[in-house]
């Protein structure tokens, strides 16, 4: 057991210094002039809300992304960090948020990938398997080194990535939400490993949404908010309330336009709905109501709404639609009932990127635009243009491919197509991800107009202020279960965050 | 137990070789032998035929009847095979002295006869064996076709200085390609007087093009092999002449010779089964009629 006092005073020079580090993606300013120094041998936590820039910081340090400007000094010397290889050579390693390993290779092969053990010019597989097993055992991970990676759970794969980083003899090791998918035992083994690494003088950066872990494990904690560093504290000198305040302490601007619409008849009720990734979820949506689903990434909200939409049919429980129990086993069925789903990933689920804006917007309603199988081209054009105007999509024309639009406008296409379709119940999964403030306000205005037409809305968001301000009813999800329910603004941010994190 | 005498042809998918099989089948019935029908699936698949030969020999047959796809390539494999079993060659020759007996149409001679037939037809129409002529080859890299073309070209060069070979075209095994080539030849060389198509499939295409353009009178098409459709074209003058070998007899006599060889009988080393030019004039003669309509 190392105690935080070990580094108190911290006489050692910083091993890595970030000076005005800046990173822009087209459309997003992900890191805003971050100044941060990591001391040798400390465990440094980085916390912040979704999209605060934590992963981006890590990816810049591991040279996955090039920085836009600023300086990085490693052991006092400025380094370019031009290729992943260079980071690895310096001793900077990361266990990324998404597992980046080869699913077809064995655990041992993944651990040694790019740095195989050789004998007489050949792979020394037996030794690698043995060494990998020894390593895993030492680390306290109960994993078979000979197993094919894809046969492991996501969490176990994360442990493999950890072991791999550890074996590379890292001097600086970054964990990006390592415990998100781990069981309790696995997490305990990981903590033991991290402490041991620290004793060996390795510097650890630890990113997590789980504040209790920060207090259990870390020496110092930095808080990122909207890409900017808002403060660094010694863990011993702070507390959870303090950190949460730092994380969410923002001026609530007048962007949350909340129309108060009288709440009407019940549209949808789920009764103890159970399916892949969630259990026993009971939710009711009424006319004119926004039901917010809040939770951390991986809490099972997307799975829940996809079940309601028929994408991955539920395995237990009941769905009652306007008083009638229904079984929804296909997307078409859901649409015919009057349910619309705008999925969370624009790229993977929402858009046909290389096709035109018009086609994407009209995709759910071509039946309506057709006479028999033939499309009424005029109506198709009119419908697209109207929607482009109504939702204020900035595009050269309806024929321009969606990929040529900015992220916010792409999101408006995803939403626009369902407004076009019309429905009784709209489900929006992370409708404002990667969307700038102005566009957000427009999206919120659209929600209002839907409510006025008598529709109900389910809105998933990992951005607390948004659901907090907009939802008439706010459900909090944790680990696939609905753990708390609040009325409009009748709980504090702190309470809700605590419920989601599960302290 | 019946003796086994496999017959190995060049291309089991071709109608011509199916007639060889028909002859062999009849012999099998008449002589009470077992006749596996073997062969590669394309005339250009030399390796395939060598493989089939090896397999056939491994089956310890009484004799093997083979139509070698390529002169040089089949030489050594036949030498090898002949060590354990008598080999009867049919249709084409190979670079081997190990054949017990050999029943061939000399393809080179066939090409020469084609040139003669074409020249004859041109002379009948234009008064002199003069003018432009062409050649359409079914596929590149096929031994018997190369031999036919060689005979055709040499005969033209030697005997008909007035006939100029102005186009030497190679098709890709599709009848439609032959059709397109012929159509374009008619366009590009309006005074074309003769064409030699060196196998059945190309003849299907070439004759079709001549029929479409109603050029049967102006262009004298001579082909190797025949089927019902081509006989029709011969009758209506679209085709000037068909060179017929006697595949049925090759099949029949091949098996018969094989059986005789297996019994150690003495056989003539070479039998020419002949290539016969069938024209509209002689097509109703008994011999030619039999060649045109072989028993199935």
């Amino acid at each position: 057991m190392t105690s935080p006092e070990a580094v108190a005073g911290s006489p050692r020079p910083p091993i890595l210094v970030l000076d005005k580090l800046d990173k822009r993606f087209s459309g997003t300013h992900a890191l805003k002039s971050v100044d941060l120094a990591f001391e040798e041998g400390e465990i440094h936590a980085i916390v912040g809300e979704n999209g605060a820039g934590k992963s981006t910081l890590i990816k810049v340090l591991t040279a996955v992304h090039p920085r836009t400007s600023g300086d990085i000094a490693w052991q006092g010397k400025s380094v370019p960090l031009a290729s992943p290889h260079e980071s690895i050579r310096l001793g900077i390693n990361a266990v990324h948020q998404e597992v980046v390993l080869c699913p077809h290779l064995t655990v041992a092969a993944n651990i040694f990938l790019g740095d195989e053990e050789m004998r007489a010019g050949l792979l020394d597989k037996r030794r690698m398997t043995r060494d990998a097993q020894k390593l895993l055992d030492e680390l306290g991970f109960t994993l078979p080194a000979g197993a094919v990676l894809s046969s492991l759970t996501i969490g176990q794969q994360q442990l493999v990535a950890t072991a791999r980083a550890e074996r590379r003899g890292a001097k600086f090791l970054i964990f990006d939400e390592p415990t998100a998918y781990l069981t309790r035992q696995e997490a305990a083994a990981l903590f033991k490993l991290i402490r041991r690494l620290k004793q060996r003088g390795v510097t650890i950066v630890y990113i997590s949404h789980r504040l209790e872990e920060v207090f259990e494990l870390c020496d110092r904690v930095s808080v990122l908010r909207d890409g900017a560093l808002v403060g660094t504290r010694k863990v011993a000198e702070t507390n959870e309330a303090d950190l949460i305040a730092l994380m969410i302490n923002r001026k609530i601007e007048q962007i949350y336009i909340k129309d108060t619409v009288p709440i009407g008849a019940t549209i949808l009720t789920t009764e103890a709905l159970t399916g892949p990734g969630f259990r026993d979820v009971s939710v009711t949506v009424r006319e004119g109501e926004i039901v917010g689903l809040y939770g951390l990434v991986g809490a099972g909200r997307s799975e829940f709404v996809q079940s309601v939409f028929g994408r991955r049919p539920a395995t237990g429980g009941r769905i009652v639609w306007r008083g009638e129990p229904v079984s929804i086993r296909s997307e078409r069925r859901a649409m015919d009932l009057g349910i619309a789903l705008s999925p969370e990933s624009r790229r993977d689920q929402g858009l046909c990127l290389n096709l035109g804006v018009g086609l994407n917007i009209n995709l759910p309603i071509f039946k309506r635009l057709s006479i028999g199988p033939l499309i009424n081209l005029t109506r198709e054009a009119v419908s697209a243009d109207k929607q482009i105007r109504d939702v204020q999509i900035k595009t050269a024309s309806r024929a321009a491919p969606v990929s040529s639009l900015s992220g916010g406008n792409q999101q408006k296409v995803v939403i626009g197509k369902w407004l076009n379709h019309g429905a009784k119940l709209f489900i929006f999964d992370e409708p404002t991800v990667g969307v700038d403030v102005g566009t957000k306000a427009e999206i919120y205005r659209l929600l209002g107009s839907l409510l006025r037409q008598g529709a109900g809305i389910i809105m998933i968001s990992s951005y607390l202020p948004e659901v907090y301000e907009l939802a008439d009813t706010l459900h909090v999800f944790r680990a696939g279960r609905l753990v708390a329910t609040h009325g409009h603004k009748d709980a504090t941010h702190e309470t809700i965050l605590t419920e989601a994190i599960g302290v | 137990d019946k003796p086994t005498i496999p017959v190995i042809v060049k291309d089991t998918t071709s109608p011509y070789w199916q007639i060889v099989f028909a002859g062999a089948r009849q012999a099998a019935k008449d002589l009470n032998v077992n006749v596996p029908e073997l062969g590669a699936q394309s005339e250009s698949d030399i390796n395939g035929q060598i493989t089939v030969l090896e397999n056939a020999v491994a089956g310890k047959p009484a004799a093997v009847v083979i139509a070698p796809t390529q002169f040089k390539a089949l030489g050594a494999p036949i030498d090898e095979a002949a060590k354990s079993v008598p080999i009867i060659g049919i249709d084409s020759s190979a670079d081997s002295k190990a054949f017990t007996s050999f029943l061939t149409t000399d393809n080179e001679k066939g090409g020469r006869i084609a040139a003669d037939g074409m020249a004859e037809a041109i002379k009948a129409k234009y008064g002199k064996a003069e003018g432009k002529v062409a050649l359409i080859t079914h596929l590149p890299g096929v031994g018997s076709l190369e031999a036919r073309n060689k005979g055709y070209k040499e005969e033209l060069a030697e005997k008909y200085p007035g006939l100029q070979l102005v186009a030497d075209k190679v098709s890709d095994g599709n009848a439609t390609t032959g059709l397109n080539i012929m159509t374009d030849l008619i366009t590009a060389i309006p005074d074309l007087r003769g064409v030699f198509a060196d196998n059945l499939i190309q003849c299907e295409g070439a004759s079709q093009a001549i029929a479409e353009n109603k050029k049967g009178d102006a262009i004298k098409l001579v082909c190797f092999d025949a089927d019902d459709k081509l006989v029709g074209y011969l009758k209506d003058g679209t085709i000037a002449g068909l060179l017929l070998q006697d595949p049925y007899r090759m099949g029949y006599d091949g098996v018969k010779s094989g059986l005789a060889a297996s019994k150690g009988e003495k056989l003539p080393a070479n039998v020419d089964t002949g290539a016969n030019l069938v024209t509209k004039a002689n097509m109703d003669n008994d011999k030619e009629h039999k060649l045109l309509f072989p028993p199935k």
Partner: protein, 337 residues
């Protein structure tokens, strides 16, 4: 704001590249025609241009069908085998005495139905069994040729029905040519039109066409928008096989025989035509006019080489390099996006 402008100009650049490709192709075709007209006296004649239309017809129809499979992100390697098989089937039906099935209309209907069944089988393999389209259609290609040969035992079936075979030689309508002769539009080219117009309507004017593009672009997004992905995949492979069967019938008409070994290698010519015509093998990019132009480019290469009495082997080399160049431009365009 700066964002908007950059992306807008990117969109324009994308479209400009598209347009460029379209014009380049048509330009290429016209330049080839011009060059051949100047180089030979025989190219730009009513007769030869009729021939050209007739020669390109079958590959054009195959390429149009193939394009449907490619747009969904798949491929159909069996189209040549299907055409050969159907040429055999239609000839077999016509030369047997099976009542209605042996009338021209009956034989054609049954042959087209064979195409539909093969298409359904492909889609079953791709959708229900989850096989890669490449493998599924490769396997059918093998099997179909074998089955055809087994049925005919390798023989050609001569079609004696002249009403049937005469069709491929017939023409319909025409117009005066530049040299005063009468240009006749061959029936075979009308058949291209007969296929191209419904194909165009299906691909460009019907909602199923939109769905074809959508599943080629993003299957999951299409599904979540209520598109029946399985049904549309079935549609694509059925159209492809149907076109191939149609070509098989035309082939039997044209050469007057049925033979399952015919149309060998046509699948590659169809794919090449489609790809040269701007269809993207990554899916979701393609048209009906593209493969049409593509197939006539390939046909012009062949026709021109014949007229110029060029060595026929050049055709293969030119085709090979043309494919590399055109697809390279396509990947450039895709990457730009």
């Amino acid at each position: 704001m700066t964002d908007q402008t950059t992306t807008a100009s990117e969109g324009q650049r994308g479209r400009r590249l598209d347009l460029l490709l379209g014009l380049t192709l048509l330009g290429l075709l016209l330049v080839m025609w011009l060059a051949l007209s100047l180089e030979t006296t025989t190219f730009w004649t009513s007769n030869n241009m009729s021939n050209l239309l007739r020669q390109g017809a079958m590959i054009a129809i195959l390429a149009i069908g193939e394009t449907f499979a490619i747009i969904t992100g798949g491929i159909d390697l069996s189209v040549g085998a299907v055409a050969g098989f159907v040429s055999m089937a239609v000839a077999w039906l016509l030369t047997h005495d099976l009542g209605v099935a042996s009338t021209i209309a009956g034989a054609i209907t049954i042959s087209l139905a064979i195409g539909v069944v093969i298409g359904l089988f492909h889609a079953f393999g791709v959708v229900q069994m989850g096989l890669p389209p490449f493998i599924m259609t490769l396997a059918t290609m093998y099997a179909l040729r074998g089955i055809g040969l087994l049925i005919t035992n390798g023989a050609t079936i001569s079609i004696t029905n002249t009403a049937f075979t005469g069709f491929s030689r017939a023409s319909f309508l025409g117009f005066p040519w530049t040299d005063g002769t009468w240009f006749q539009i061959p029936m075979l080219f009308w058949m291209v039109i007969v296929v191209a117009i419904p194909a165009y309507i299906l691909l460009d004017q019907s909602r199923w066409g939109r769905y074809l593009f959508a599943i080629g672009s993003n299957k999951e997004a299409a599904r979540l928008s209520g598109v029946n992905v399985a049904a549309i995949t079935y549609l694509a492979y059925v159209v492809s096989s149907f076109c191939a069967a149609f070509v098989g019938i035309l082939l039997a008409m044209r050469i007057g025989i049925g033979n399952p070994t015919q149309a060998e290698g046509w699948e590659l010519q169809a794919i090449a035509s489609s790809v040269i015509g701007g269809t993207s093998l990554f899916g979701a990019v393609g048209s009906v006019h593209g493969p049409l132009i593509g197939s006539f480019i390939l046909t012009t290469i062949n026709n021109g080489a014949n007229l110029l009495n060029l060595n026929p082997f050049w055709q293969r080399i030119i085709t090979g390099f043309l494919i590399i160049i055109v697809v390279y431009f396509d990947t450039l365009r895709t990457r730009k996006r």
